[in-house]
Amino acid sequence: MISFLLKRLALVIPALLGVSLLSFALIHLIPGDPVTIMVGERGLTPQRHAEMLHQLGLDKPLWQQFVMYDWNALHGNLGTSIFTRTPVMHDFLQRFPATVELSLAAILFAILIGLPAGVLAAVKRGSWIDHTVMTASLTGYSMPIFWWGLLLILLFSVQLGWTPVSGRLSPEFWITPHTGFMLIDTLRAGDYDAFKDALKHLILPAIVLGTIPLAVIARMTRSSMLEVLGEDYVRTARAKGASPWRVILVHALRNALIPVVTVTGLQVGVMLAGAILTETIFSWPGIGQWMVQAINQRDYPVVQGGILLISSVIILVNLLVDLTYGLINPRIRHTR
């Protein structure tokens, strides 16, 4: 297990280096420099332009900028935002808990609904339940996030007034962030009205962000279950007279879960990408919204730092997924 862990960890370093190179190359390949964007139609003499580029260190050769960047990144310094002049790392840490909170809620929603739906569809194969689950998951998977979000807002917030439109907490509440997780912070403060308010704010964005993972999980669970249900050991269990639900939940599901865990892990990456749209629609102060603004403004340090940090998180999650396999399925733990 330890050598397995070490091997997986060793793979992380080239992956991170690759990501930093890619993000660096990408942002410099896109035309347009931050200085012209900063000034807009307000005109700029060539000498002032050069002066500003120099101040920002953008006039150095690319390779020098890259080496400097990686060197600083290794020391935890990801540079300073060109526009707000605050350290990138600081801004990331300030926003990251909001994204984590939203993603956790979304994945929880996706698993709680997707898993039973998939199991049910597999067990009742060919029935109306199966058809409903399959159609709904296909629809969910193809739903454009932007449109889906606005639709829910119009229905539940504007028409019915059940949920707030956007944000994390209504202006009348005032909670000092300790952890950055609004649900925890409101409880810590002992303000139950604020907790309820925060929870209400979380519902719609979590549904929107969780929809695609939900669809993927449901379909994956279904096909994986179908495969397992035909295996000999399931038939054996049945023959031994175990109750049908015991067979399904204990014998079959445990084995069917392995591919589902993989897919769920991969959905974390998809979700961070989806968070960019979801957070913009719901004015959710997480890293998604932060990145959108940075890309629009060509805020190089923020975009580079953001991509690097987000990639690191995805790489870490994949590592965790690999390790989880071992827990579910001892066979993987023991192979080499």
Binding site: P31, P34, I37, F83, H90, L154, E172, I281
Partner: protein
């Protein structure tokens, strides 16, 4: 290590923003994005000005609410010397600065504060010059370092600005956001404590609202400054709910989560007007959208060609299609909201037959090929440049001119325009200070050639002579006459096709009273009350 303003303000605000205060009147404004900071001198964007200069700060002179007329601010009056080079400001007495947890002012606003504010930007050796990056783009962009020779404190309540050459728009510049007055006493204290950057992070001004807390991407909280010299604001708390998506802002307004919103989608205006709980205020903007000919390049150096292309464009149908009733057809290179707008000028009529004749006269009976640049971004003066370009393209095709539409990413677009790579290009301008000079000289003056400002690359002496003379005269009647003449010269020479003046819209709850749309585009909440 810089400390987060949010974290600092958060702790502080707990005491300030206790629950009983919530029974008080709170106005929630759905804003469009994060400010870049809270020191207006360092930035150039309207979002930052809304959150800083228009809430926390005051200036020596101000624009009268809802207009570009200059009225007294922290200066009660001013005199201009006969040679037009010395501006003497008489300062208001008894003006209080705000308080925060690190600073309690012991004196009122006076000349030292004015000197500190401007010397920080002007003097490269000022201890504060390089703080927070030390970029003063607007101050530099308005040519202030070249314009100002010296700033003198005559007595504690009199300050003199001595200019190198007479410059009439100077007074209007003093009402601009970058000229917001800081507290010198606060700056001194922070310098002693070696916390200079706090001046920009934890702002103190004389303005109507005090900053309570800022949470990026989420909210900015203010409370009314009780000792504000014009009188405490009618609302007790002001909250900016940061909401980047226009459709979501509209949803929040409808759901009552905010009472007033910024930048509506033009397509939503009709629905907003139909909603009984909502009123939509509107006002012609301080802007112009135009098509510029690169007059340095053939065949656009030929007046007949420019005129022909002008007359071939059906402006009315373009403005109707793009703005759907939210814009008007432009005639002059500046909007009618500015004084000295020449009403006597009659636009060239849409006349493809006459245009064809002019082209033939210029030696292009079968037309020619050109490029037509379209901006990639949406701006108030042009929400959909791509579509506008397509319509112009089809109008020109009718007289045999084949235009190829070219577009680049915004930064690249600006850069290439500055290098005069284009033949014809769509562009526009939102005014800074309501002075005609800010349109005529900035956009069409010789100094702007080969920058992103004069993209017609048009340096025409008879025009330049008029605008220079107007700039150096402080007599408004005389200036008006000169600018009217300059607009005639523009009309005869056709360096641009002025296309539209857009309208600013501000949807709000019917409970909001007293909100005035500012022509300069900033959002001002002093004077607003809630029912």
């Amino acid at each position: 290590m810089r400390k987060s303003i949010a974290a600092l303000a958060l702790g502080a605000s707990l005491a300030a923003f206790s629950l009983p205060a919530l029974a008080a009147k709170t106005l929630v404004y759905c804003s469009e994005g994060n400010p870049n900071g809270f020191q207006p001198a360092l930035y150039t964007d309207g979002t930052t000005f809304d959150a800083s200069s228009r809430t926390i700060y005051d200036r020596l002179v101000e624009f009268k609410p809802g207009s570009t007329e200059i009225v007294p601010g922290l200066a009660t009056s001013w005199d201009v010397s006969a040679d037009g080079k010395t501006y003497t400001f008489h300062l208001r007495r008894g003006v209080k600065f705000q308080t925060n947890y690190g600073f309690t002012p012991t004196r009122d606003f006076d000349a030292d504060d004015v000197l500190f504010t401007f010397n920080r930007m002007l003097d490269k050796n000022n201890p504060y010059h390089m703080v927070s990056g030390g970029t003063y783009d607007y101050f530099d962009g308005m040519d202030m370092p070249k314009m100002i020779k010296e700033i003198k404190k005559v007595d504690p309540y009199t300050v003199q600005f001595i200019l190198n050459v007479p410059n009439a728009p100077f007074l209007a510049n003093m009402a601009m956001d970058f000229a917001s007055i800081d507290s010198a006493q606060y700056a001194d204290k922070l310098a002693k404590e070696n916390k200079k950057q706090d001046l920009d992070l934890k702002p103190i001004g004389t303005g109507p609202f005090e900053l309570v807390a800022y949470q990026p991407d989420s909210m900015i909280r203010y409370k009314a400054f009780a000792q504000y010299w014009r009188g405490k604001a009618a609302i007790d708390n002001l909250v900016f709910a940061i909401t980047p998506n226009a459709s979501v802002r509209w949803a929040k307004l409808r759901a009552g989560e905010c009472q007033i919103m910024a930048y509506p989608n033009p397509t939503d205006i009709a629905a907003m007007k139909a909603d009984k709980a909502i009123k939509v205020e509107s006002k012609p903007g301080l802007n112009v959208g135009y098509l510029a000919f690169n007059t340095e390049k053939k065949p656009f150096d030929n007046l007949d060609v420019r005129k022909a292309l002008y007359m071939a464009i059906n402006k009315k149908s373009i403005v109707d299609a793009i703005f759907q009733g939210t814009g008007t057809v432009a005639v002059n290179p500046m909007p009618p909201t500015i004084w000295s707008y020449n009403k006597a000028i009659k636009d060239y009529s849409y006349d493809p037959a006459e245009a064809k004749k002019l082209l033939a006269k210029a030696g292009y009976p079968n037309g020619f090929e050109t490029d037509l640049w379209a901006m990639p971004v949406s701006r108030p003066y042009n929400p959909d440049a791509r579509r506008m370009a397509v319509m112009i393209q089809s109008d020109w095709a009718k007289i045999g001119v084949k235009a190829k539409i070219v577009t680049y990413e915004w930064g690249e677009y600006l850069k290439r325009l500055g290098q005069a790579e284009h033949q014809t290009a769509l562009m526009g301008w939102t005014g800074d200070n309501g002075d005609p000079d800010n349109f005529l000289n900035t956009l069409l003056g010789c100094a702007g050639v080969h920058t992103t400002q004069n993209i017609a690359e048009w340096c025409y002496q008879p025009f330049q002579k008029l605008t220079t003379e107007a700039q150096q005269t402080s007599d408004v009647a005389k200036r008006t006459k000169l600018y009217e003449q300059a607009q005639e010269v523009f009309h005869q020479q056709v360096p641009w096709v002025p296309i539209d003046y857009s309208t600013d819209f501000m949807p709000m709850s019917t409970k909001v009273h007293g909100y005035k749309i500012q022509p300069t585009g900033v959002h001002v909440f002093y004077g607003v009350s809630l029912q």
